[in-house]
Amino acid sequence: MRFGLSEEQVLLTDNINRFLSDQVDLQQVRTYADGGDDAQVWQGLAELGVSALLVPEDHGGIGLTPLDAALVAESLGYHVTPGPYLASAVMVPTILAEAAADYAQPLAQLAAGELRVGIAFSEALGARADGGISVVDGVINGKSLFAFDDAADAYLVADASQQIYWVDAGDVQTEKLTTVDKSRRVVALAYDNTPAKPVSDNAEVFAKAVDIGRVILAADTLGAAQAMLDQAVAYAKQRQQFNRPIASFQAVKHMCAEMAAELEPCRAMVWFAAHALAELPDEARVTACHTKAHVAEVGKFVAKTATEVHGGMGFTDLLGLHYWFKRIGANRQWLGSPELIREQAARLQGLGQ
């Protein structure tokens, strides 16, 4: 029995973390937030194999596990890294590998980091007013809100019946949607008799993509929240008031201890949930739901508390702490907010009518 990371997994995260520490500092995040692009960062990550992680080996990928992908997501969250990871490296390869038609070429291009494919799932998971799509005879009409990300070459679009279609970005009108999270960008996709190629009519393919997407978002939040806790502790040790570091006040120590006490079990939870996706099919979906929802709640608590530990400085743009705060806030809503996901967890267990 061994509940922990392998040597290879430790090595993988060390490599990614080293790259991100070098290449994705706060200045880099600010540049992206101000309208810069993420092409160079994504290229660098692709060279480390990040884009190929989940692509099967016979399609030019590395064929690693969801746990490996979650560990990378944790690192990306820790550094509030821009980039299309969630879609292009995780959800899209998961779908294409199981698609009925042959997607060998796009899979190979995704693995190489040469192709970005986004996801437009909001209409399938929790349609809001102003959105809504319909697909008839290979033609799509309507609007997908909050598609991720803005620089994709194509999108996988899911409709209310959870069928998935491939739509080329060149065939749709994209409308930039500004959100609080400036470390990743989303768009609205407007369709006007746009060609939509069927990728999957299997609701299970859709559900599996959502499962892994949720675990990856939980891992991203885990990393981002850990970064906020680390920054809060470091700041408290350095900040002096009343002739002593504020880290020596129990009021401040207990805030940090509460963050650590809530966050540390999330690490085991993310590991288990990611492991379950590949190895424990009976538990995987409920665990993914609970992991996404629980880590979102803990993330929200840590984001607020860590900001408070920084006092007024935490509220300013000077420290940039808000990039983590907003990333955690965005992860909470993407692919289902906690209440909706918990209700799904209950239904999956046959609880309640």
Binding site: G4, V233, L351
Partner: protein, 399 residues
């Protein structure tokens, strides 16, 4: 990542199951301390190594090599079969491991065998009215007079003191030494003249604890564990044991399942509580928290059997998170029942024997006992996050 225990452990699990199938009838329910059923069951469990498993045979134990997974399997199977897991109590869970580590050969031989058989019952004399979280400031004194220590002072929270044969007790023997270096660890009989035990009724309505008073209690000089002034180190070796056992997530899972059952049977205006989305969401929040703690527990277990895995922070937070979670869980069951949830003691409308109210309060006690949640947060911030200690308030001048 490998969550299976492996084939050799599955064989072991079958062995335990077979034992339980054959012997479950002998497993006592609510047997009193020292009753023949309890002592016979204990003897049977020791013979098969299902309790006192790693205690050396020389001291009356089974003498197996420590194996955390085997211990885990035994606990799981006994819980599954609802079998009595054998005797617990502070003598077995705290004093015996301490003696194994710090006791003299003679102490081990004298005290361990009757203690693990359940024939010698112990209570713990640590906390005092003026020494709770700041345990090291304790003032119960022991002064050497010829071949005897003379003990004076008062202890509190001494559970089972009214039933115990012996007490293991922290006393101040070096009044002029710094406070952590002036304490000694004494063992003495509870029928020694000068000991008075007063029951202490707690909020559950039961006297789970006592106050224990010592007036010129004379204790033979050699009934000390470790050297004079070493009592703090002796005591700390076992405080770790206690914290590990509080807030066990597997026990919490059992209670969560009972809560889910309750939500299927309790109704308000004819609607089952599980069908009410507000309560259902609250249940799901708890289920998520229980899940996180169960996986945290797996990680801690793994770190104890695999070298090089660091889960020290994961371990440090268990008492804090586990007891708070359990208190919330028990409290939710009360809210599920509404006014019915207030039923207690002989009220005919109690559910599950009134255990929800009882455990709701009992776990508030555990949030406080064994190192309060605030002390836990100090430990987590200082040892887990490397934050500085609060500056010490100057000690009062001695007059």
């Amino acid at each position: 990542m490998d969550l299976s225990f492996g084939p050799e452990y599955e064989d072991f699990r079958q062995e335990v199951r077979q034992f339980l199938r054959k012997n479950i009838d002998k497993s006592p329910h609510n047997a009193r301390m020292r009753s023949p059923e309890a002592l016979d069951w204990q003897k049977l469990l020791i013979e098969h190594g299902y309790t006192a498993r790693t205690i050396p045979q020389a001291y009356g134990g089974f003498g197996a090599q420590p194996d955390i997974i085997q211990s885990r399997i035994i606990a799981e199977e006994f819980a599954q079969a609802r079998a009595n897991p054998g005797l617990g109590g502070q003598g077995i869970s705290m004093l015996v491991p301490t003696l194994l580590e710090m006791g003299s050969e003679e102490q081990k031989q004298t005290f361990i065998p009757p203690t693990i058989r359940g024939e010698m019952v112990w209570c713990q004399g640590y906390s005092e009215p003026g020494a709770g979280s700041d345990l090291a400031s304790l003032t119960t004194s022991a002064v050497l007079d010829g071949d005897e220590w003379v003990v004076n002072g008062q202890k509190i929270w001494t559970s089972t003191a009214h039933l115990a044969d012996w007490i293991f007790c922290l006393v101040r023997t070096e009044p002029d030494a710094p406070k952590h270096q002036g304490i000694s660890f004494l063992l003495f009989k509870m029928d020694t003249p000068g000991i008075e035990v007063k029951p202490l009724v707690d909020m559950t309505g039961v006297a789970n604890f006592n106050e224990t008073f010592f007036t010129d209690v004379r204790v033979p000089k050699d009934q000390i564990v470790g050297a004079r002034g070493q009592g703090w180190q002796v005591a700390n070796a076992i405080l770790g044991h206690e914290r590990d056992s509080l807030g066990n997530p597997n026990a919490t899972l059992t209670r969560l399942n009972a809560l889910i059952e309750l939500m299927h049977t309790e109704t308000v205006n004819g609607e089952r509580m599980i069908d009410n989305p507000v309560y259902r969401d609250r249940l799901m929040r708890l289920q998520g928290r229980v899940m996180a703690m169960r996986f945290n527990d797996l990680r801690v277990l793994s770190s104890r059997i695999n070298k090089g895995q660091d889960a020290s922070l994961a371990r440090m937070i268990v008492k804090l998170q586990g007891t708070e979670l359990r208190h919330d869980l028990e409290g939710m069951a009360i809210d599920i029942m509404g006014e019915v949830g207030l039923s207690y003691e002989d009220n005919p409308y109690t559910r599950n024997g009134g255990s929800w109210q009882n455990q709701y309060m009992f776990f508030l006690g555990l949030i406080i006992g064994g190192g309060t949640s605030q002390i836990q947060k100090n430990i987590i911030s200082e040892r887990g996050l490397d934050m500085p200690k609060e500056p010490k308030y100057p000690a009062p001048q001695k007059s």
